[in-house]
């Protein structure tokens, strides 16, 4: 059953701060043409396509959109946003859904760890560091690393990854920015 075939949920139009964000990306402007979905390379793998997600938001059924995990498949290529005839910032809305999916524990723990490992590495070093990222990402189930083995070996052989993390002088400043953001956004 698709989102549109389901009986309409009670209309709750309260504005969700994390959804409407700070930029004017108002999903109520969407007139369901589907250009976003037509432009999306990963829509085929989503439970709810971008157009359907916009529709769910209009119907006040954001929880369904969040629980579906569709936002996690968005690659943030911005095709939908660039093409939207109504000027809806679809990509930013999908990102907001993605944030909620991760924050409200609807995502596969492995995918959650992917985001956490990346951000933690950047918080600690100011830049991305492949080795530390992989260590954090795969620590709970190292067997999964097998899937990355061939790629990792090539990177090592070609001298592209170093064991030593990058050095950014103002690493403390970056960490302070992370703390401030968490404080403003009310994240743990």
């Amino acid at each position: 059953m698709t989102a549109l075939e389901k009986p309409w949920a009670p209309h709750t139009l309260e504005r969700i701060p994390s959804l409407t964000d700070l930029v004017g990306n108002d999903f109520s402007l969407c007139y369901q043409c589907g250009l976003c979905t037509g432009s999306c390379r990963t829509a085929y793998a989503m439970k709810y396509t971008p157009r359907q997600v916009m529709n769910l938001l209009q119907l006040g059924r954001r929880d369904e959109a969040v629980a579906s995990g569709s936002g996690l498949l968005c690659t943030a290529c911005y095709s939908c946003t660039f093409r939207c005839p109504r000027g809806v910032a679809v990509t930013d809305l999908m990102a907001a859904i993605q944030r909620l999916t991760l924050a409200e524990n609807h995502a596969d723990p492995h995918i959650r760890r992917f985001y956490q490992a990346f951000m933690r590495t950047v918080e600690r070093h100011g830049r991305f560091h492949e080795v530390e990222f992989l260590a954090r990402y795969y620590a709970p189930n190292p067997l999964r690393l097998r899937g990355q083995f061939r790629v990792g070996l090539t990177l090592l052989r070609k001298g592209k990854v170093t064991l030593r993390p990058p050095k950014v002088k103002s690493q403390k400043d970056i960490a302070a920015m992370f703390r401030k953001a968490a404080q403003i956004e009310g994240r743990p």
């Binding site: 994390s18 964000d21 700070l22 930029v23 004017g24 390379r41 990963t42 793998a45 936002g71 996690l72 498949l73 690659t75 943030a76 290529c77 911005y78 095709s79 946003t81 660039f82 930013d92 990102a95 907001a96 993605q98 944030r99 991760l102 995918i111 992917f114 985001y115 956490q116 990346f118 951000m119 950047v122 100011g126 830049r127 991305f128 492949e130 990355q148 061939r150 790629v151 090539t154 990177l155 070609k158 001298g159 592209k160 990854v161 170093t162 990058p166 950014v168 002088k169 103002s170 400043d173 970056i174 302070a176 920015m177 992370f178 401030k180 953001a181 968490a182 403003i184 956004e185 994240r187």
Partner: protein, 303 residues
């Protein structure tokens, strides 16, 4: 031509060959790129999934640093460029976003006012260096080489919106034609490579890469303008092939690598030995390609 230069994390690691070739080619073209001191990660495609403010403030810190250095900021990574220009746009559009971002930047002791001008490497190469200058410098025309330009997705769109058509960019085609290559047109040239999905959701990510490689199929090589696409298209050809029950072995080069070859720069300076899919075969194809017309020339006398 002097610029502050933002390499980005991919260029300093998984796509080191991009960085090496950018430096070599830009130096030979007389453009001076000074690495932005103490730059930080732009948040890639990940920060938006965790924090809206960080997804803007991380790139904004780099813009603030460029502003302090009073230079234009150039980056050779489309993903970084997209994040940076998104920060530029959003902070300009919305005073409350600007204020919140600056609140974060204050923690790092900098402020961003919107003065620093952001440029993509391709923009600098085409509009500042100029195709005419590049044409003069070509010592090894890529004749006979069939090259598929991969513009990348709308990370590209943000890029091309500044100096080319958003839906049908052609600057890359012109550049490759200037180098003497035969440009291969294919429908997916502006489609997304999947970004980080190749790591976080392999089945979907590898599928997107597979479609791209298949679409550019009969080209001798693919050329990208983004180190992340470079990593994806190079490193996951096995996985991509398995999905379609086929085997890909198509060299993928960065735009400055193919330029470097045409400009006659040494292989090592272009980091060609670092490419996951070996590129040695391309030299033979160019040699064959150029040998044919010169052979004809000698047979029919000097032209």
């Amino acid at each position: 031509m002097k610029y502050a230069y933002y390499p980005g994390c991919a260029s300093s690691g998984t796509a080191k060959e991009c960085e090496e070739s950018i430096q070599a080619v830009m130096r030979s073209l007389g453009a001076e790129l000074t690495e932005l001191e103490d730059w930080n990660c732009c948040g890639a495609a990940i920060a938006t999934g965790v924090s809206y403010l960080l997804s803007l403030a991380l790139p904004a810190r780099n813009l603030a640093l460029a502003e302090r250095a009073e230079s234009d900021l150039v980056t050779g990574c489309s993903r970084c460029y997209m994040n940076l220009i998104r920060a530029v746009h959003y902070t300009q559009q919305n005073a409350s976003v600007r204020q919140k971002v600056n609140e974060l930047l204050a923690e790092a002791g900098v402020q961003y006012s919107g003065k620093a001008r952001l440029r993509h490497l391709l923009d600098v190469i085409i509009n500042d260096v100029g195709l005419d200058v590049i044409a003069e410098r070509v010592t090894r025309p890529l004749e006979g080489l069939r090259v598929a330009p991969y513009y990348g997705c709308c990370q590209g769109m943000w890029t091309y919106a500044q100096f080319d058509s958003v839906e049908e960019p052609h600057c890359f085609d012109q550049l490759l034609a200037t180098l003497g290559a035969e440009v291969v047109d294919y429908p997916l040239k502006t489609a997304c490579c999947g970004g980080t999905l190749s790591m976080s959701k392999r089945t979907v990510g590898a599928g997107l890469i597979s479609d791209l490689l298949a679409a550019a199929g009969d080209a001798d090589c693919i050329v990208t303008a983004c180190p992340l696409c470079m990593f994806n298209l190079n490193s996951f050809q096995n996985e991509a092939g398995r999905i379609k029950g086929t085997h890909y072995n198509i060299p993928v080069l960065f735009l400055t690598q193919i330029m470097g070859i045409a400009l006659g720069l040494p292989e090592k300076a272009l980091g060609l030995q670092r490419n996951a899919v070996p590129v040695g075969g391309l030299y033979k194809k160019i040699a064959v390609g150029t040998a044919v017309p010169s052979g004809e020339a000698s047979a029919s006398g000097p032209r």
